[in-house]
């Protein structure tokens, strides 16, 4: 074992109580970081999953209609027209372009518009969605939300949300009358009822086949949007911008469609970072103060080592190694404790049906990152005490201790 490592280990072993306390300090700090990171990341992941569980990551639509203004009428007051459902011109080409774009996993057409669901004397405003489940489930898998019946949209079948079913007193197999814009209406059979976990969606969504949607919304052969799934969630905006440039259409990412959510997530992330920075700072100060005390306590021994030929650079390394060891060993201990704490909380907050109510995101990258940070902090915290130790005048410390 190299000389500096041998001395560093012996110094740490010699000051067992101090070493124990500083290791505990680093361990507690690491535990807090692991627990907090796992909790915040898990929470964010859960929120994103829930949001994107019922929403495409990128949606391409026709741009808004705006009136063309002739130059001679430049001073005229121009009224913005009400927007109507329009088909994407050449939507098959759009799907082709999107599918070939790097980072895009799948693209599928859909048609969406307002309407009414009527049954006996009850009526509810609905959001009509025309999709081809085979294609569309690669974007958003609504099939997994099925609560009763099946997600069958063939022929005159429709799938509705649980709240809409409850409001209209509908069960699987019952008939429902759908009325869309322009008095286009039809009677469909409810083949399945879904619970997407979102009240608004359960109250309003009615899924029909793409062809039925086109017929009801008056867009025969057309689609109102092309929806995408991307490989990296946080690249969605970049991909949307690229697609908008390539196609001249309006492409929006889930981040643009959920600005408030993104702001919330960012704020949450920033708070977590601030807390972690303060924890790291506290750990660094702890290590630095213990090593500073150690330099004072061991100044005579350092003086002796210097007197018998130990170089000041070796003394410097001895204390840096102590910082490194404290950071490394303390963080590994803290990772185990953090892991245990996460598992304990997971068990404590489990729902009666056994599912987790709090989602924690633990992964190898978090462990590696935390260990590397703690080790670097340990070394950085040891720099000042180590420099002080290496500059001790052997004659003075031998004379005055």
């Amino acid at each position: 074992m190299p000389f500096e490592w041998l001395v560093a280990l012996r110094f740490l072993r010699e000051g067992r109580v101090q070493t124990f306390f500083i290791l505990t300090g680093v361990g507690v700090g690491t535990t807090v970081i692991i627990f907090l990171s796992a909790l915040i990341t898990g929470l964010q992941q859960s929120i994103i999953d829930r949001t994107l569980g019922t929403q495409a990551q990128v949606i391409i639509r026709m741009p808004d209609e705006v009136p063309q203004v002739l130059d001679t009428l430049a001073d005229a007051r121009v009224e913005r027209p009400a927007q109507r459902i329009r088909s994407i011109v050449g939507w098959q080409q759009t799907i082709e372009i999107a599918s070939r774009m790097p980072g895009v996993l799948a693209a599928a057409p859909s048609i969406a518009g307002p309407g009414f669901a009527l049954r006996s004397r009850g009526s509810k405003a609905i959001a009509l969605r025309g999709i081809d489940p085979g294609d569309y489930f690669r974007i958003v898998d609504f099939g997994r939300f099925i609560e009763s019946g099946s997600f069958d949209l063939t022929g005159f079948n429709a799938v509705i949300g649980t709240d809409l079913a409850a409001d209209l007193g509908i069960r699987v197999g019952d008939k429902i009358r759908l009325q869309a814009v322009g008095d286009r209406a039809t009677i469909l059979q409810v083949s399945g009822i879904i619970d997407a976990g979102v009240r608004d969606l359960n109250e309003r969504f009615v899924f029909v086949s793409l062809r039925m949607g086109q017929t009801l919304l008056g867009l025969e052969g057309g689609v109102s949007s092309v929806e995408l799934k991307v490989a990296d969630l946080f690249e969605a905006s970049v991909i949307a911008d690229r697609l908008a440039d390539r196609t001249g259409l309006r492409a929006e990412s889930w981040m643009q469609l959920n600005r408030q959510l993104m702001t919330g997530l960012r704020t949450q992330g920033s708070s977590s970072v601030v807390i972690q920075v303060f924890v790291v700072l506290a750990v660094a100060l702890g290590i630095a103060s213990v090593l500073a005390v150690s330099v004072v306590q061991k100044s005579r021994e350092i003086g002796i080592m210097r007197a018998v030929g130990t170089r000041s650079s070796q003394v410097l390394r001895i204390f840096l190694i102590q910082g490194l060891l404290v950071g490394l060993v303390g963080s590994v201990g803290g990772i185990f404790t953090g892991f245990g704490l996460v598992k304990f909380f997971e068990a404590l907050t489990r729902n009666p049906d056994g599912t987790a109510s709090l989602t924690f995101a633990l992964n190898g990258a978090l462990y590696v990152r935390t260990t590397v940070i703690a080790t670097l902090v340990g070394i950085a915290a040891a720099v000042l005490p180590a420099r002080r130790a290496s500059r001790l005048d052997p004659a003075e410390v031998i004379r005055y201790g």
């Binding site: 000389f3 012996r10 072993r13 080592m305 007197a307 018998v308 030929g309 004659a395």
Partner: protein
């Protein structure tokens, strides 16, 4: 005559910058290889300061210090540390061993520091030295588990680890009882005679000083007396 192991010319030392406290006033001293010299003097006479200068632990304010033929005053720190490790051995009043290490490891310390890691050869040399000071059965004991006399013997073995040409001892028996002090002194004398290593020993004990070849007396930072010990010479 052989080249002196220690050659001092007009060595002065003072502490402080605004308020100057002079400690040594122009010391001239030569010590020949193999000499066993006692350095005596009252407290505050500058003995320890002189020892620190000779041990290259401190730099003189002016004057020339030549150790084993090498002028040391202008040496950079790194070279001084290396030269000190290879040429000079130290024995201190309070032994100053590293308590977290065994006797063997303490003896190996100077060579470990120089080579960067312990080796079998170092361990062999350290074991031989412990045998020489009569502690071969205590090699793997922590020094904190040893008596004061034993610890001082470990310190002597450590001082010899790098086969130095000069050993500087600062009151090596000052913290020991009479019997242990005499044993330690005898040990140093035996090593001096067997290996020809030069010893400069600071001591207050006149009985021990009178067993040295030569006695140098320092008073108020100046050499007041320097000559062969008549008792030994005769």
């Amino acid at each position: 005559m052989a080249e002196p192991i220690v050659h001092l010319e007009q060595v002065r030392k003072h502490y402080g910058e605004k308020i100057i406290t002079p400690v040594l006033h122009g010391i001239d001293l030569e010590i020949q290889p193999g000499e066993f010299t006692a350095l005596m003097g009252p407290s505050g006479s500058g003995k320890s300061t002189l020892l620190n200068l000779l041990g290259l632990l401190d730099r003189p304010s002016s004057g020339l210090i030549r150790i084993a033929g090498t002028e040391t005053s202008g040496m950079p720190d790194r070279t001084r540390t290396r030269f000190r490790g290879e040429t000079i051995g130290f024995i201190f009043q309070f032994h100053y061993l590293l308590p977290a290490f065994t006797a063997l490891e303490n003896v190996m310390l100077p060579s470990m520091a120089r080579e960067g890691r312990p080796t079998d050869a170092m361990q062999r040399v350290a074991s031989e030295l412990l045998h020489e000071v009569g502690l071969d059965d205590q090699a793997h004991k922590l020094v904190t588990e040893m008596s004061g006399g034993q610890q001082q013997r470990v310190a002597i073995a450590r001082a010899l680890a790098m086969q130095p040409r000069l050993v500087l001892a600062d009151e090596p028996s000052g913290n020991l009882d009479t019997k242990s002090g005499r044993l330690v002194f005898d040990l140093m004398r035996r090593i001096n005679q067997a290996r020809g290593i030069t010893f400069l020993i600071v001591t207050h004990d006149e009985r021990l000083a009178h067993r040295c070849d030569r006695i140098v007396e320092l008073v108020d930072g100046q050499i007041a007396a320097d000559g062969p010990n008549v008792a030994v010479a005769t």
